[in-house]
């Protein structure tokens, strides 16, 4: 559930590499043909990418963005998992919250960012809240699904052998739901990266968003594309990192 892409990447590294290489070649060719000034050749993007990444401006932007991402994600995990568990365990809480979670998980939350600016001010808090709003709902949803599908007999077993409420959550429900929770966190991280960029773009005076704004306003397309690649790579790396964790608990799924 909630798997946007099957986890086959990495299993056929040759195919992946070939696909990437073809795209790079096409980009390079289109760039060299000079079809449009907004698409410079890839080689020049990479060259100026090195300059962008080593610049002090980038270091500051990266730090500000990473901090907002980490804070927002931490809040989303800290709130999302307990709420998801609660929704799964309490019929009434589930009924009350489910409609809202489903609305927000599919809603274009970016539309709310200007409103956030009015409420919490134009600054880092807005970005953190944006990341939170982008990521929390998918964690809630996946956690709920994960806890819901814990087999009835595991819960009965715990009761039979004398588990109290604390043990039931710590030793049965959370570990049993871990694969779904991790899947939720992975999707949340991907959304969180979007949240950072969109939040900062709309505010336009902070972090990576500010850099994007500067580059595109000044027609610095090589730098612009270099930054795009860096952000994409970051999002991919975060998602792969969590996916790696997921694969480590894969035997859960096989055993159920």
């Amino acid at each position: 559930m909630w798997d946007e892409a099957p986890e086959t990447a990495g299993r056929s590294p040759l195919l992946t590499a070939a696909s990437l290489a073809i795209w790079c070649l096409v980009w390079e060719a289109v760039g060299r043909a000079g079809v449009a000034s907004i698409v410079p050749p890839l080689s020049r993007v990479v060259a100026s990418g090195a300059a962008v990444v080593t610049s002090g401006k980038f270091a500051v932007a990266a730090w500000v963005s990473l901090r907002a991402f980490a804070l927002g994600m931490a809040c989303a995990v800290a709130v999302g998992i307990p709420v998801g568990v609660l929704m799964a365990r309490s019929e009434s809480v589930g009924r009350i919250l489910r409609v809202w979670v489903n609305v927000f998980v599919s809603a274009p939350v970016s539309a709310l960012v200007p409103m956030l600016m009015a409420v919490v001010g134009i600054g880092e808090t807005t970005v953190v809240v944006t990341v939170f709003l982008f990521s929390v709902f998918v964690i809630v949803l996946d956690t709920e699904v994960g806890v819901r599908q814990v087999s009835r007999s595991l819960v009965d077993m715990a009761a039979c052998f004398g588990a109290g409420r604390r043990d039931l959550y710590r030793k049965i429900l959370l570990p049993a739901a871990l694969p779904e929770i991790l899947a939720g966190v992975r999707l949340a991280a991907i959304r969180g990266v979007k949240g950072v960029v969109i939040g900062q773009l709309l505010i336009a005076i902070l972090g990576v968003g500010e850099l994007f704004e500067v580059y595109s306003q000044n027609f610095l397309f090589e730098e612009f594309w270099a930054l795009v690649i860096v952000v994409f790579a970051f999002a991919y790396a975060v998602s792969e990192g969590v996916a790696r964790l997921e694969r480590r608990v894969e035997h859960y799924a096989r055993a159920r």
Partner: protein, 254 residues
């Protein structure tokens, strides 16, 4: 009734969905004996077992264990589940020790007990394996070892062999009798297999379907001690009981 460890008194169960699973069931389970609840699917035998386990509240009536009214699960009752109910993320050792872990026993003590029971059920050497690395029959041995490890006086078994193949099942039945011999456990065993019921039981409760009521209680008359499984299965008492029960149950089939 004085010798009964578990008494079921006028228990009825109607689920919220309106399904009437049990109607006015009264039964006594004698100490140290294996009693089977036998009946076609939908006769409420698993529901009755769960009422005894304290997992399901009866709508009316009560269950008494050693004279005390059952309000929920208790340490004197252990359960063996049809689908094994093992923790997929835990080793055989931790699974078998899990009941003791929940009771707060220190690791050393509970693992020592668990190792002993793992050996008893014939899984020595698999302590560090995970459930998904084991066959169905082996998984159920883990479930059985977990129930025996907590040293409960009463063992409740919900169709424990239904998810394993026939050969494994027979071997398992024989091993179960050996494991229980001389330990004085009171066992309540749910099955839909007539042969299994007669082979294992001191007493067989025949339940009627929808709603479950007690049709009859059969006590197979045969001697198990000192006899091989094949001799038992050829015993006149065994064959008569199987036939007897089939005559009753076939009216509910089809």
């Amino acid at each position: 009734m004085s010798n009964a460890v578990v008494e079921v008194r006028r228990v009825s169960k109607r689920y919220a969905t309106g399904v009437e699973a049990l109607r006015d069931v009264s039964l006594a389970f004698p100490r140290g004996r294996l009693t089977t609840l036998l009946g076609p699917s939908g006769c409420g035998k698993t529901t009755l077992l769960k009422v005894v386990a304290g997992l399901v509240q009866p709508t009316t009536g009560e269950v008494r264990v050693e004279g005390r009214r059952v309000e929920g699960p208790g340490p004197e009752r252990a359960f063996v589940f049809q689908d094994f109910a093992l923790l997929p993320w835990a080793t055989v050792l931790r699974n078998v020790a899990f009941g003791l872990e929940l009771r707060g026993l220190p690791r050393e003590a509970r693992e020592e007990t668990a190792r002993r029971w793992i050996a008893e059920v014939g899984l020595g050497g698999f302590e560090q394996s995970y459930p998904h690395q084991l066959s169905g029959g082996m998984r159920q041995r883990v479930g059985l070892a977990r129930a025996l490890a907590v040293d409960a006086e009463i063992i409740l078994m919900d169709e424990p062999f239904s998810a394993v193949d026939e050969q494994t099942r027979r071997k398992f039945q024989e091993d179960l009798l050996v494991l229980l011999r001389d330990r004085g456990k009171t066992v309540i065993f749910v099955t839909h297999s007539i042969e299994e019921a007669v082979y294992l039981s001191d007493q067989i409760v025949l339940l009627t379907p929808r709603p479950g009521t007690v049709h009859r209680v059969v006590q197979p008359s045969m001697e198990r001690r000192g006899r091989s499984p094949d001799e038992i299965r050829r015993d006149k008492g065994y064959l008569d009981a199987v036939d007897d029960i089939w005559q009753v149950l076939k009216q509910y089939v089809g």
